[in-house]
Each structure stands twice: as C-alpha cells, then as structure tokens.
Symmetry: C2
Subunit: 114 residues, 2 copies
DNA sequence: TCGATATTTCTAGGATTATTGAAATATGGA
DNA sequence: TCCATATTTCAATAATCCTAGAAATATCGA
C-alpha cells in the first residue's frame, strides 16, 4: 500500500462515526448493509451517513452496490489488511521487535499453531 | 486501546508530514532525534515541526525529553503496537479471516517458526 | 404515470486543522 | 551578564472537514 492510500485510510478512520460504521460493516460481512440501516444503527441522518460512506469509499475501505432501492455497503477486507500490513512494514522494517509481540500475542484470538 | 485513543492515533497518522516524522523516529529507535534534526530531514520549518510533534505527542505516538538545548523526540512503540492490535481486534473479533493472512504472510519478515 | 421509499447532492454554516512568521522561552558558554 | 542556539507559543490566514436541511435522483409498486 502506497503512502497516499494509507494517508487516506488513516483519515477515514480518524472520525468517530466512520469508525463505528466500518466496525459495523466488518461484522456484517460480505453481504454488507443498506445505507438506511447503517444510518439507523449509527444514529445519524441520511445525508450525514451518505457523506461518511462516501468518505470511506474514497479511502477504499468500503464498496457500494445497488440492490433495488437500497445502496448496500460492505467492508473491503483487503484494504483493512492493507493498513495493518502498512503499519507493520513501516515499523518492522526499521524495528522488527515492535511487531513481533503483536503477531505472537494477538494472532486474532486464533492460536497460531492450531 | 480504547476507541478514543485510536481515533487520536489515526488522526495523527493521517497527515503526510506527521507520518513521515513518525517513520523517521521509528527508524531512529529509542535514542530518538532532536526537533531541529527532524525539521531538517522532514524539510519543514521549526514552528511547523513543533506543531506536528505536539500533535503526535498528544496522540501518544511519540514522547519528548529535553537534552540540554535540544528536545529529543522518540517513537512510542507501545502505542504503535496498540494501533495494530486495535485494528486486528476490531476486524478479527468479527471476522478472523481478515487478519489471518496478514499474520501468516507478513510476520515482519521474520519467519514465524524460526 | 403517480406516489412512496431510499439515497445522494447541494448549499451554507460552523468547527477544526495546517501554515507562516514574529515574538517569547529555555539552555549553555564566553 | 550577554549572546547564540534550540524550540515553543502566538496570532493571523488559509484550507479542510463536519453537520443540517432542502432539493434532486433513482427505484419500485399500484
């Protein structure tokens, strides 16, 4: 991931409503959620959710598709992976000891050797 | 890492100059770098570098200490780890398959089983 | 076609953030 | 003490971002 895209992604993640939306979409999975449903659950107005969804889309973190009258938004896992990787490469390239603990410890709750 | 701190960290990382500074400081290691040196290498004015360093400090990504006439700034590895972990927990809690590839693939260039 | 639903676009505002240069503060050495 | 160095603070400006509501667009069903 080039710096330019990383900057956009960090900018998109630095806003409370957007972070909340992205989290919801990650949990929702590939099926995604309709804009209206997102607005309801995130408790923001239609035009505001549209603004933030566009921002997330511009950053490549979500994708949109139309389903009848609804617009369905879904998280772009590749992009999320991209940011994590960007951070890791950025620190690890200089200081591998930074990431090592995260990798061995976190491991997404899934034991690495399982 | 609570959401509040994560938002601040993402905000700090979403600016070109600050991202550049943090990368330099990660490479510099625990010894850190003087504000003036950072300003030179990042090619920004003294007051501007001060502004951005304060922003990074507010986000907990760097720490400052005085050494004679210079202020030495150094990257806070714990905080960097914190963001990576935050992203991983956020996605992996809902969808473990997102992070798995990053963990097995990236691994900071260090083979996991070495 | 008409009306209802779902969402986006536009406009205007207020708020936050970034940049600049000048002035202020802190430190060390002559 | 005085001067030079290193950095921060301040004030003003420019730029960007967020929010809200009204109007516009798209889709569906009657």
């Amino acid at each position: 991931m080039e710096e330019h895209r990383a900057l956009a992604a960090f900018g998109a993640l630095s806003q409370e409503t957007r972070l909340r939306i992205l989290r919801m979409l990650v949990v929702a999975g590939p099926d995604g959620m309709a804009a209206g449903t997102i607005a309801d659950k995130a408790d923001v107005s239609a035009s505001n959710v549209s603004f933030h969804l566009k921002e997330l889309e511009r950053a490549g973190l979500v994708a949109a598709r139309r389903d009848s009258r609804s617009m369905i938004y879904s998280a772009q896992y590749d992009a999320i992976r991209g940011i994590i990787r960007f951070l890791m490469e950025d620190c690890c390239s200089g200081r591998p000891e930074i990431c090592a603990p995260v990798i061995t410890a976190a491991a997404c709750g899934t034991p690495l050797k399982a």
